[in-house]
Symmetry: C2
Subunit: 107 residues, 2 copies
């Protein structure tokens, strides 16, 4: 699925981030954060958006977000979109205790 056009890779990307909140499990703060996170789905270019529970015992993350982009340009546009920048500054940085971003593409 990877096509190289000029120097830009045209490959679909699944962007995931596993995270743990500073809020207590089941708290109103947690619920408010997760509701706000859902709003990222409305940013242009975001596909297959999911807010998920992390249920494995082999890490300390409690939640995850997964979304897909048609290509790197769509991913870049999302990263720079004002709604994403605002979410990161106003909610993510103050409310997330730990996180790990993992991005996948087809081989």
């Amino acid at each position: 699925m990877t096509r190289t056009i000029g120097t830009v890779e045209q490959q679909r990307i699944r962007h995931t981030v596993a995270f743990r909140l500073r809020h207590a499990a089941g708290s109103p703060g947690e619920a408010a954060f997760l509701a706000e996170a859902e709003s990222l789905a409305a940013i242009p270019g975001v596909e297959d958006f999911e807010v998920l529970r992390q249920v494995g015992a082999k890490n300390d993350f409690a939640y995850g977000i997964s979304m897909e982009f048609a290509d790197q340009a769509a991913y870049d546009a999302y990263n720079g979109h004002p709604a994403h920048v605002r979410f990161v500054d106003e909610r993510w940085l103050p409310e997330v205790a730990e996180f790990l971003e993992i991005d996948y593409a087809e081989r």
Copy 2:
């Protein structure tokens, strides 16, 4: 999607593992490992199986495997299946330098 029947949670699980091999990128050993990993898709209960490249710059993993199970029982059966146990013992443990398992379910 979570239903509790008795004490067993009936929830679909997306099992993912990000990893980095001891083999050099582009080496025959890497290719052989990835080909063998694909064979895990044939284990009963495994759905939506993917071997993926990790393309993000924010971690040291080079690959990932993602698969889904209809419920915890299917996941447990996979873990205990002789083909999985053999793959872990003979290929995963000697050939994988670092890995992280992250499992997701719907909220």
